[in-house]
C-alpha cells in the first residue's frame, strides 16, 4: 500500500464548551479522491479548516509524509502542499482571471529599480493552465465574475495545482452548481487525481461523491463513522450514516427514494 500524503489522527477541536470535533481520523493517498460526507453541522467545515491551518486542533496529530507537523496559518499548510478551495471564497469576481490566479504569488520582473507584475508571463501561464483543464478563456483579462460557477471552481483548482498542491481540499465545490457545471467540476477532479494529487472532496451529495470517490468517510456529530472503499458501500448506506439514523430511511421510503 502506498504511503498517505496526509494523515489526521484522532483530531479533536473544542470551541469553549462546544465540542466541534470529537475524534476524527482521515488519511489521503496520492491520486485518490477521498470523499468526506456529512450533513450540515457534522463538523466538515471545522475539520477542513483544521486541515488547512485555519484552526489548530485541540488534540490529535497531523502527519505529512509520515512526519508530524503543526500548522499555525493557512500559509504554513500551503507551503506543506495542502491547498484548499473554498466554496464561495475561492475567487474575487471583480478581478481578472490572471489577477485571481496569481493572487498572493504574483510573478515580478525587474524594470530598472522597479519590480513590476510580469503580466506577459502571468497571462501566458494562466491561459495554458486553464486550457489544460479544458476551459477556453476569451481573455486572461476578463473578470472572474463573467465566468460560470463551475469555471470559477476550475480556476481555483487549476491555481492550487499549478502552485504545487499535493493535497487538494475542495469544500463543497458542486453544491451551488447546475448539472452540467457539476459534471465539469467532477471531470476536473478526475484529471487532477490522475496527476497523483490527493483530493479531499467535501460534499453532502452522495451521488456526486459516488461519481468520483475512491474512499468515503462519513462525519456525524463531530465523529467519523468509519471509512469505506469504493464498491464496499451502497449510496443508501452513506445516506443513512450521514443522517445518523433511520429517520431518513423512513422518509426516503415515503418520498420514493428521491432524497
Amino acid at each position: 500500500m502506498t504511503k498517505p500524503l496526509i494523515e489526521l489522527i484522532d483530531i479533536q477541536k473544542h470551541f469553549g464548551p462546544v465540542i466541534a470535533l470529537a475524534g476524527v481520523s482521515v488519511s489521503v493517498l496520492p491520486g485518490e479522491c477521498h470523499c468526506l460526507l456529512g450533513d450540515n453541522g457534522a463538523g466538515k467545515s471545522t475539520f477542513i479548516k483544521t486541515m488547512s491551518g485555519v484552526h489548530k486542533p485541540t488534540k490529535g496529530k497531523i502527519l505529512i509524509d509520515g512526519e508530524e507537523v503543526t500548522f499555525s496559518s493557512p500559509r504554513d499548510a500551503m507551503e506543506a502542499g495542502v491547498a484548499t478551495v473554498y466554496q464561495d471564497l475561492a475567487m474575487i469576481p471583480l478581478m481578472s482571471v490572471t489577477r485571481n490566479f496569481w493572487m498572493g504569488r504574483e510573478p515580478v520582473r525587474k524594470f530598472g529599480p522597479l519590480q513590476l507584475f510580469d503580466f506577459d508571463r502571468a497571462n501566458a501561464v494562466t491561459l495554458e493552465e486553464m486550457a489544460k483543464m479544458g476551459i477556453r478563456l476569451r481573455s486572461p483579462d476578463q473578470a472572474v465574475g463573467t465566468l460560470s460557477g463551475g469555471e470559477r471552481q476550475t480556476v481555483a483548482i487549476a491555481r492550487a495545482v499549478y502552485f504545487g498542491a499535493k493535497v487538494l481540499i475542495l469544500d463543497e465545490p458542486t453544491s451551488a452548481l447546475g448539472v452540467r457545471q457539476t459534471a465539469n467540476v467532477l471531470a476536473t477532479i478526475d484529471k487532477v487525481r490522475k496527476n497523483g494529487i490527493g483530493i479531499v472532496f467535501i460534499t453532502h451529495n452522495v451521488r456526486h461523491a459516488m461519481a468520483v470517490g475512491d474512499r468515503f468517510t462519513v462525519l456525524n456529530r463531530g465523529r467519523t463513522l468509519g471509512t469505506a472503499k469504493r464498491g464496499e458501500i451502497q449510496p443508501e448506506e452513506l445516506q443513512d450514516m450521514m443522517a445518523g439514523g433511520q429517520e431518513l430511511a423512513a422518509l426516503e421510503g415515503s418520498l420514493g427514494g428521491t432524497v
Binding site: 493557512p74 474575487i92 471583480l94 496569481w102 501566458a124 495554458e128 479544458g134 476569451r138 465574475g145 463573467t146
Partner: protein
C-alpha cells in the same frame, strides 16, 4: 509546467469540450473592448465638461495660459487628495478625516515654524510624521475593532478638527496663523511645496510671443506665468506613482484583493491588514501634501481649512469609476474626476454663472457618471 516547449496559440484539442468556441459567448470587437474600461465614465464626463466650457466660456480667458493655470491648480488640489482616497477605497476602506487632516497638518506646520520658531523643513517633516502616524492609527483601529472605517474616520474628522481649533487658539489666540512665507524663504524643503519649476520655459515662450508678458507694474517684462507650481507637479507625480503601483505591481494586486474580498485574499496569503493600514497612511500623506502646498501658497494656516474635502475626494474617485464597496477602480479615473471638479468650479466662475449653480452642475455630473460607470462595470465584471 513545461516552460521549454514553445507555446502555440492553437493548442490541439484533447477532448470534445476542449477549446471549442462557446456559442453563448459573444465576441467583443476590439473597439468595444478598448472602450469598456473603468475610466470610461470619467473620460466622457471630461469631454462633456470641456466641450461645454469651450462653448460658453470661450472668450473669457479660461483657456488662455493664465486661465489654464487657474483651473489646473484647483484640479491638482482635488487630484492630490483623490489619489489617496482612490487607493484606499479600492482597498475597501474610507477616510472621512482627510479634510480635518488638512487643517491639522497646516496648523502643525505654522505653529512649529512661526510660533515656536523651528526651521520650516523640520516643521514639515514633523507634520508628515504626525499625519502618517494618525493615518496608521485610523487603519489600526479599523482592523482591530472590525468597525466600518466610515465610523472610525468620522470620529477622527471631529477629533482632529477640534484639536486643530483648540491648539491654534490655545497657543496664538486666533484660528489663522500667518507669517509662514517670511520664515519659509530660502528653506530647502518648503520650496518643494510652494515653489515653481520650468520658469525658463515660460520666459522662452513669452520671448517667442506664445504667452503674454506683464506690461506694467513691478514685474513688467516678466512672463504672465512664472512657472509650473509644485502643487501640479505633486499631483502628476502622485497620479503616476499610484497608477503604476495599482495596475503594474504585486502590491497593486493586493490592494484590489483586499478590497474585493478580504477573507479570500487572506486565504491565499495576501497581508490584507498591512495593505489596508498602509493605504490609510498614504491617504494621510496625500492630505498633508495638500496642506503643505496650501500653507506655502497662502503663507498662512487656518484651523478651518480643508472643510468637506473628504467628500470632494470621494466624489472625484466615484466619478472616476471606483466602486464604493472596494475592489474596483482606477487612479486615472479619479484624476479625471478631480479635473472635472476643478474645471466646473472655476469654469462657472469664468463664465460668470451664479456660483451656487456649481453644486447643481456637479450633482448632475456625479449622477450621470455614476450611472454610466455602473453600466460599464456590469459589462466588465459580469455583475448582475
Amino acid at each position: 509546467m513545461s516552460e521549454s516547449t514553445p507555446r502555440s496559440q492553437t493548442v490541439a484539442p484533447t477532448g470534445p469540450a476542449n477549446l471549442v468556441k462557446d456559442e453563448r459567448v459573444k465576441e467583443m470587437s476590439a473597439w468595444r473592448k478598448s472602450l469598456v474600461r473603468p475610466e470610461l465614465g470619467a473620460i466622457c464626463g471630461t469631454i462633456l465638461v470641456f466641450s461645454f466650457f469651450l462653448i460658453i466660456a470661450r472668450g473669457t480667458g479660461m483657456f488662455a495660459p493664465q486661465g489654464i493655470l487657474n483651473w489646473g491648480v484647483v484640479s491638482a488640489q482635488f487630484a492630490i487628495i483623490a489619489v489617496g482616497a482612490c487607493l484606499l477605497m479600492i482597498a475597501g476602506e474610507f477616510d472621512l478625516s482627510v479634510g480635518s487632516m488638512i487643517g491639522f497638518s497646516g496648523v502643525v506646520i505654522a505653529l512649529m515654524s512661526v510660533t515656536w520658531g523651528y526651521p520650516v523643513w523640520f516643521a514639515i517633516i514633523v507634520a508628515f510624521a504626525i499625519a502618517v502616524a494618525i493615518g496608521a492609527l485610523n487603519g489600526y483601529l479599523v482592523i482591530k475593532t472590525g468597525l466600518p472605517s466610515f465610523i472610525v474616520t468620522l470620529a477622527f474628522l471631529y477629533v482632529l478638527r477640534g484639536l486643530t481649533i483648540y491648539g491654534s487658539i490655545a497657543t496664538t489666540r486666533q484660528t489663522i496663523i500667518g507669517g509662514v512665507s517670511e520664515v519659509a524663504a530660502g528653506d530647502p524643503i518648503a520650496w518643494l511645496f510652494g515653489g515653481k519649476i520650468l520658469g525658463f520655459l515660460f520666459v522662452w515662450l513669452a520671448d517667442i510671443g506664445l504667452i503674454g508678458k506683464f506690461v506694467a507694474g513691478p514685474r513688467a517684462g516678466q512672463p504672465v506665468i512664472e512657472g509650473v507650481p509644485m502643487l501640479i507637479v505633486w499631483a502628476l507625480v502622485l497620479i503616476a506613482f499610484a497608477h503604476i503601483l495599482l495596475t503594474r505591481t504585486r502590491f497593486g494586486n493586493w490592494i484590489f484583493a483586499s478590497g474585493g474580498d478580504a477573507q479570500a485574499a487572506r486565504y491565499v496569503g495576501v497581508p490584507v491588514n498591512r495593505v489596508k493600514i498602509l493605504m490609510f497612511m498614504f491617504s494621510a500623506f496625500c492630505a498633508t501634501v495638500f496642506a503643505t502646498c496650501q500653507v506655502m501658497e497662502f503663507g498662512s494656516a487656518a484651523a478651518d481649512r480643508g472643510l468637506l474635502k473628504e467628500f470632494e475626494a470621494i466624489i472625484s474617485v466615484v466619478i472616476g469609476g471606483a466602486l464604493l464597496t472596494g475592489g474596483y477602480g482606477s487612479v486615472i479615473g479619479a484624476a479625471l474626476g478631480a479635473l472635472i471638479f476643478g474645471v466646473v468650479q472655476q469654469g462657472l466662475f469664468f463664465a460668470g454663472v451664479e456660483s451656487s449653480l456649481f453644486r447643481v452642475f456637479l450633482g448632475v455630473i456625479l449622477l450621470m457618471a455614476v450611472i454610466l460607470n455602473t453600466y460599464i462595470r456590469r459589462m466588465i465584471t459580469g455583475e448582475r
